[in-house]
Every structure is written in C-alpha cells, then in structure tokens.
C-alpha cells in the first residue's frame, strides 16, 4: 500500500514528487523501468559525445531520494486497475494506491516506413535507445538522420563526433520548417553544412533498405536516390506513451486526456508531462506539450493539487530554447512558422550568419507578440515582463540592452539592430545605453 504513486521518473514525475514533498508529508513512491534514478533526458547526447558520464547527468545524488523519503521502485507497471486502485507490476507484488500520477513520457514516431525495423534503424528517446545507438554505430561509417527537428540535429552532432558521415534528410524546404521562419531555418541550415553534414532539404524518405542479414544498408528517397548507410536515425518527432492506459478505464486520445487541472476522467488519477493531452473546455482535441519546461511546469501545478490546493495549469508566456551545434536559440512569446496577416516582423542578421534576431509584433499598434534570437542570449524574465506589459517593438528595441544576457566582453549587436530598425521606421528610436559596472 502506498499513498501517492507516480509512474515515470522523468522530469515530470520527479518534479511532482519533489514539490509534493516540499509541501506535505505524504508517502510517495516513484516507479520507473527505465532507470533507477532520475536523469536528464536532454543530456543523453552528451553521454554519447563523451562530455559527461551517466553520474554527471543525474541531477540529484543517490542519497537524495532516501533523505527526502521518496521511495524508488525499479519495476515495470503491467496494468492499472482503477476500480480497486491497484497496480500490477512485473517483478513485485501488486501495489495499492490512494492517488496515481501518470508521467509516462513519449515514444519515438515510426510512420510505417518500409524497413523501419531493420537492425541499425532507431529513434532516440531513452537510456535504452542510447545504449542501442552505441551498439548500432560501432561499425557504422555513414549514417542518415531523418526528420528535421531538435533530436535530428542533435543526433547528427552526436554521430559526427564518432567520425561518422551524416546525411540529414529534412522534409520541409528549410531546417525545422514547422517551427522556424525561413531566415532562421536557412541560417541553421548553413551552420549545419559548415559542420560537414550533408543536409538534404525537401527530401522525403521512401524506404529503408536492408541486406541479407537484416541490417540496414541504404535508404531510398522519394526521388529514387539511394544513399548507402549503416545507421538510420528516425527522429520525426515523438508521441505520448499511452500503452499503460489502453486497457484501463482512463480516457485517452492521442495522449492521456486530462483537463487543465491535469485530472483524468477517473478520480484520483492524474497525468502530466509528455503523455498528457490537455483538453480545454469541451474541445475535441487537446494539446500535447512534449517539452522539458512544460513537463516541469505541469508537474509543479499538479503537485499543488495533490497537497490540497487544487490548481489549474497555466503555462504562462511561451518560451523555449535549444542549441544547434554551436548556435543557441531562445524564443519568448509566440513566433509562428509562417507570417500571419495581423502581424509585422523585424528581422536582423549579422553578416557572419551566426547571430540573428526576430521580433514579431501587431501591425496595428506595434505590441510585441514574440521573439526569436540565435547566437545571442536574452533574458527570459525581461522579455516575459515586456510581453505581459504589452510593450511595443519600439520600446523593446530601445531597452534591448537591459535584456542582453551574453557574458561580459562579448560583442554586442543591439546598436546594429536599432540602426537596422531605424532604416525603415517612421519614428527613429535611440538605444538606451548600458550602465558602467551596472551602477553609473
């Protein structure tokens, strides 16, 4: 018998546990069949590249869990019996719970491509995937990565460190075309090429071809070209891992269906993180947020509910960040992949092609809608405040120095941005200068 049981020890499950512990004395059990302890999923690439060891990517030392009385079970849940509030496990006796949190994460997308089950073909999501990738790439000299998103570019970077030649197939006409605008996508495309990745835009996978031993030997594109390879990375996104709820009474669509309080249709059963499909009101389809940050924020909201303060999940002002080889990316607010009618955009790019900045704002009154920055760090809290205060693009550019988060002595570009803005602006603006030592 356990009071609160959490299935999944990723960032969502772990954050629920930590925050419930912070505010209450409840018995907490976390079950995972992936790893004994919480580790940082986005850091998997650094294990493969040799930047870190497994111990380094565990955010808490191993004594942390016992000290905070968080019981860890390294086991696999086979079945949830919501009527009797009971879990069936692979290796241990049945476990009864009072409340249950599902934080089962995602699974890699396999879109039924011919040959997707050949040896040497895989996605990258879990620790087990990484071990498989280590195995699969031992003999590989050429690899093809399919899917122009975040995991794809990270996989390309990983493979290059092992001296493997990478061909990167992207369905859209630019990198990450369903998120990035043309200029940004092309900037990253050029940077990827600079790292000697063979980037194939507007190219779709037709089939993966195997040899007699069942190993991959090549892929064929829709235009009929064959690219020889000994490894194929399938990185065309992820989908919620809902295997566990399929034969239970917990409602599920694309993900585990929850309301904005992260409650499922079954009392005392909740879901958060990648696996949750959040339905607002009576909507047919909900939204799925397979992101580290949203997983963490959902978990924080849910933890409040679990300690008696029923709290709605409010994701606040959107933000995200990533790193493409050497170029960092931040986005605050909302920048749609394709321009919309109601908005104008300001875009500045450094001639070297390693930095750029986009501000999207309302056409009628200039209010900021969102920003993308590449190769320059900007402060999250400052942009969040500007967006909440409905600041205009002119205000934002005038005060841009305040938001710069680059290390000391780094070259600053705000002056150039303002100059570029003034070239077309009706009323020119002047950049507010930085204080010397932050004081004078």
């Amino acid at each position: 018998m356990a009071d609160l049981v959490i299935i999944g020890n990723g960032v969502a499950g772990t954050t629920v546990a930590r925050h419930v512990r912070k505010h209450s004395d409840r018995d907490i059990t976390i079950i995972s069949s992936e790893s004994r302890h919480f580790y940082s999923r986005p850091a998997l690439m650094y294990l493969y590249m040799g930047h870190m060891k497994y111990d380094n990517i565990k955010p808490y030392e191993d004594w942390f869990w016992e000290k905070n009385r968080l019981d860890l079970m390294f086991d696999y849940v086979r079945h949830i019996d919501t009527d009797n509030k009971k879990l069936t496990l692979a290796n241990t006796a049945d476990l009864h719970y009072n409340q249950l949190v599902l934080a089962t994460g995602s699974k890699s997308n396999y879109f039924g491509w011919p040959g997707q089950n050949l040896q040497g073909v895989q996605g990258l999501y879990s620790l087990q995937d990484l071990e498989l990738m280590e195995d699969n790439t031992r003999e590989a000299r050429e690899a093809v990565v399919i899917g122009g998103g975040l995991i794809g570019i990270e996989m390309a970077e990983m493979l290059l460190t092992r001296g493997i030649k990478v061909t990167f197939l992207v369905r859209e006409d630019r990198y990450w075309g369903n998120v990035l605008r043309r200029e940004e996508g092309e900037l990253i495309g050029r940077h990827v090429a600079e790292h000697h990745v063979d980037l194939r835009l507007a190219t779709e996978l037709d089939a993966i071809l195997g040899d007699d031993g069942g190993r991959v030997r090549a892929i064929r594109t829709k235009s009929g070209e064959e690219i020889p390879c000994q490894f194929v990375g399938l990185t065309a996104g992820v989908h919620p891992n809902i295997d566990l709820v399929r034969d239970s009474s917990i409602q599920h669509g694309r993900g585990i269906r929850v309301n904005t309080h992260l409650e499922t249709n079954v009392p005392d059963v909740f879901a958060c993180g990648d696996c949750a499909e959040i339905i607002e009101g009576d909507a047919e389809r909900g939204r799925i947020e397979p992101l580290w940050y949203t997983g963490k924020m959902q978990a924080e909201a849910l933890a409040q509910t679990l300690v008696g303060k029923r709290t709605e999940y409010d994701r606040g002002i959107w933000f995200n960040s990533a790193k493409f080889f050497d170029i960092e990316y931040h986005t605050y607010g909302f920048v749609a992949a394709e321009p919309r009618d109601c908005e104008e955009t300001f875009y500045w790019e450094h001639p070297d092609g390693k930095q750029c900045m986009r501000l999207v704002y309302h056409r009628d009154d200039g209010r900021l809608i969102g920003m993308n920055s590449f190769g320059i760090r900007y402060r999250h809290r400052v942009f969040e405040r500007w967006l909440a205060e409905n600041r205009t693009v002119a205000y934002v550019l005038t005060h841009l120095n305040e938001a710069n988060f680059d290390p000391e002595f780094f070259k600053r570009f705000e002056r150039e941005m303002v100059a570029a803005y003034n070239q077309t602006a009706k009323t020119p603006i002047q950049l507010k200068r930085r204080k010397v030592l932050g004081i004078f």
Binding site: A43, M52, S321, F410, G438
Partner: protein
C-alpha cells in the same frame, strides 16, 4: 531486467582519429622530451635536459596549435570522458605520479635538477643580476621553478585560447593570467631585484597566500630596504586590507583567483583539461569548508604568534618560532599547494589547493559570500538539468542544483572562471555584478 546504471559506461571501441601529422610529431616530441628530462635528472647532463625541455615545449606547441582545425569555434568537450588522461584512466595516474615526483624532487631533492638550473642560469643572471649559486656554492632551484611555471602557463595558455576562442570572456581571462604570470610574478620581481640588491617581492602574491609576507622578519627586511622596500610593505598591507575588499565587492573573488593569481593561472591553463575531475558531492563541500577555513585560522594564528613572540623578544616561542613558520611552510605550502595541489591535477581536478587549502581564497570567499555584488545569474526557467555546468566546475560547485530551481549562485568558493556559462547549452548562466539585495533572486 538489466541494471542500466552499471552498464551505461559508454566507451567507443573505435576512437575517431583526429590527430594530424604535426600533432603526432608533437606528441612524439613531448614523450621523448619527458624521457630525456628523466634521464637528465639521473645523468646530470645539461644537453639532455635542454633537448628534453625544448622537445616538450615545442612538441606541445605543435600539438596545441593544430587544435585550431577542430571545426568552427564552440564548446568541444568531445571524448573527454572516454579519455584516459582526462578521465582518471591509467594515463592520468601516471601523469599524477610524474607531476608529484617533480614536486618532491623540487622541494626535497633539488640537487637533481642541477642540469636544468645550469641551463637557465644565464637567463637568471641576465634578468635578476644574480646566479643560482651563492657565494658558498649553494644552489637555488627557485628561479628555475619560476621559469618552468611561467613557460607552462604560456604554452597551456595558448591551448586555452584556442579551445575557448568563441568566448571573449575566456580569451581575455586567459590573456590576463598569462600576462600577470609573465610580468608580475616572473619578470618584474627579478628585474627589480637586479637593481635593488636582490630585494625580491612578488607583487601579485598577496598575504595570506604568501604566508610569510607579513611575518616580522619579512616586514623588518622590507623596512630596512629603503624607499622601494617601504613601498613594498605598504603594498603588501594595502593589497590585503584595501584592494582586496574593494575589488571583491565590485567583481567577486574572480578578479584575483581566475584573472591574476599564479596558482589560479596554472589551474586555468595546465589544469583546464582536468577541471571535470573535481568532486561535486555534498560531502566534498562539507570537507572543503572545514579545511579551507582551518588553514586560514592557522595562518592568522601563526602570523599573530610570530608577532607576539617578536614583541616579547622571542620569549613566547623561544626556539619554536622558526619551527612554527617552517612547519606551516612545509605542510601547507610544499605538501598541500605543491605536491598535492598541482601533482594531483589529473586525479582530483585543477583546483584542489584553491578549494581546500588556500587561505587567500578563504578570505576572498568570505568577502564574496557576504560583501560582494558578484553572483552567477540564472536565466529564468530554462535549465534542462543536463549537468554540464556542474561537471565542468573546477571548484566542485553543484551549479545545476541552483540553476534548475531558478536560483542565482552565490557561493564563497566560485572563482568566476565562467566555464559554467560557457558550457551551458541553453544559455542559462551568466556571471554578473549587481545590487546586493536579493542576490540569489530566489522566490520561495
């Protein structure tokens, strides 16, 4: 079910061959050079020593210069954790034994370094006006040590400059430690000694790091050495009482530890490949706080006792006075700072001395923790808990612990090297000076 936590030590079977011809040649030169140096210690041959030293320096430079071809500028920590030398493999232990051995010879058997002393003596005579051999024929190895130390910082400084060429903070900081070592720690003290009857004073080496600087005999020596000597004494007192608190208030302890200090300079250059080996555990932090503050207390008590003894005409300590200061010098300075602090770089990381032993770091740390505008700022909620910051923190600070809860980092031990900010893949960390109130920026 497999026990993944144990099996997940990924080691690629086939290391990606990244060495070009010049690099192989350079590494060959370094190996032969080291061998020749060892042989020269036994044979006493100056030719062997000179050839060996030259091969090590130019071999290392040849290797280092070619690392600029490793692709576009950016963080490249690839393969560090698979590397034997950088990740506590057998090469690391061999290097640790070699470096420890060097320090043991340097401190306790300097006569074996005679061939090298002979080699650099002309430079010593030219620069400082005095020979390594005094009138009685006793050899001093300390100019040689200063020379090797400086060359090491310069050569490995080039390595750091190339590796971190994408970061202007890292470039300027590296140039700064190279400059302060070459000018203030090596050249200027020697040249001043030449024109002032051998009056030797290290301007950038502040008490209590240079523990004997404010001992009675040093102070009296300076007072009796004319105007320059008096200025040196003024500087010694001024630098710890005024300069240190003021600069630390504005910039944190980094102005000294990672921009000026010679020990820091060696750690940031020679020690940089080993920075990831520092212990990040909570236990290590506890040990650190006890040890470093104990050393500070010890040096203050030693200095105080020496003065009390001096004022009472030697009645308090009697014959123990000399033993007390030389005891501190032996245990703390030779064994701790030298043999363990530097010799164990490859095993315990590059800042063992700075973290666990340096009394100056303890003073700066107290100032930084309570009276400074410096902090490492966390950029909103964007931490992905990856651990690069903690892994590459040479002071063993678990930076991620703070970053992942959106808390700024205000820690006594942070030397402000800026590496956490450089390796962060989400641009979360930044070294900043700002208002004192709510420095941690943490809302509970």
């Amino acid at each position: 079910m497999r026990h993944l936590d144990l099996s997940l030590q990924l080691i690629p079977e086939r290391a990606h061959a990244t060495l070009d011809g010049l690099q192989k040649l350079g590494l060959g030169g370094v190996s032969i050079g080291l061998l020749l140096l060892v042989v020269s210690v036994m044979s006493g041959s100056t030719v062997q020593a000179g050839t060996g030293f030259g091969l090590v320096v130019f071999g290392a430079l040849a290797y280092i210069v070619q690392t600029r071809n490793d692709g576009p500028p950016g963080i490249k920590n690839n393969f560090i954790m698979f590397s034997s030398i950088m990740s506590r493999g057998y090469l690391a232990w061999m290097a640790a034994v070699f470096m420890t051995g060097f320090y043991i010879i340097l401190y306790f058997y300097p006569q074996h370094l005679k061939p090298l002393v002979v080699l650099v003596n002309p430079l010593q005579v030219w620069l400082s006006g005095s020979s390594a051999w005094d009138a009685n024929g006793n050899m001093s190895q300390w100019f040689l040590y200063g020379f090797i130390y400086t060359v090491t910082i310069l050569v490995m400084g080039v390595r750091a400059l190339i590796k971190y060429r994408h970061s202007r903070y890292q470039i300027l900081r590296t140039l700064s430690v190279m400059f302060f070592q070459l000018a203030f720690a090596f050249t200027i003290p020697n040249v001043l000694a030449k024109f002032n009857n051998g009056l030797y004073f290290e301007w950038a080496n502040i008490w209590p790091l240079r523990y004997y600087e404010l001992f009675p005999y040093s102070v009296e020596g300076l007072i009796s050495s004319g105007g320059l000597g008096k200025f040196m004494l003024f500087w010694a007192v001024f630098s710890i009482l005024i300069l240190t608190p003021v600069l630390t208030y504005f910039f944190g302890k980094r102005w000294y530890c990672s921009w000026v200090c010679g020990c820091g300079g060696l750690a940031e250059t020679l020690g940089d490949p080993f920075r990831q080996n520092s212990d990040k555990s909570l236990r290590a932090w506890k040990v650190e706080r006890w040890m470093i503050h104990s050393v500070l207390v010890l040096v203050v008590v030693t200095t105080g006792l020496m003065w009390a003894n001096h004022l009472y005409g030697g009645e308090i300590l009697g014959t123990w006075s000399g033993r007390f200061s030389s005891g501190y010098g032996f245990l703390i300075h030779s064994i701790f700072a030298g043999v363990i602090g530097t010799g164990f770089y490859p095993v315990m990381g590059s800042r063992v001395w700075c973290r666990f032993g340096c009394p100056m770091a303890a003073v700066l740390g107290i100032l930084q923790r309570f009276f400074s505008r410096f902090r490492i700022t966390t950029n909103g909620g964007q931490c992905i808990s990856c651990g690069n910051c903690s892994t590459y923190c040479e002071m063993g600070i678990d930076v991620r612990w703070y970053a992942q809860r959106g808390e700024n980092i205000v820690r006594a031990s942070c030397v402000g090297c800026g590496m956490c900010s450089a390796v962060c893949p989400r641009g979360v960390l930044n070294l900043e000076n700002g208002p004192m109130n709510n420095r941690t920026g943490f809302q509970v």
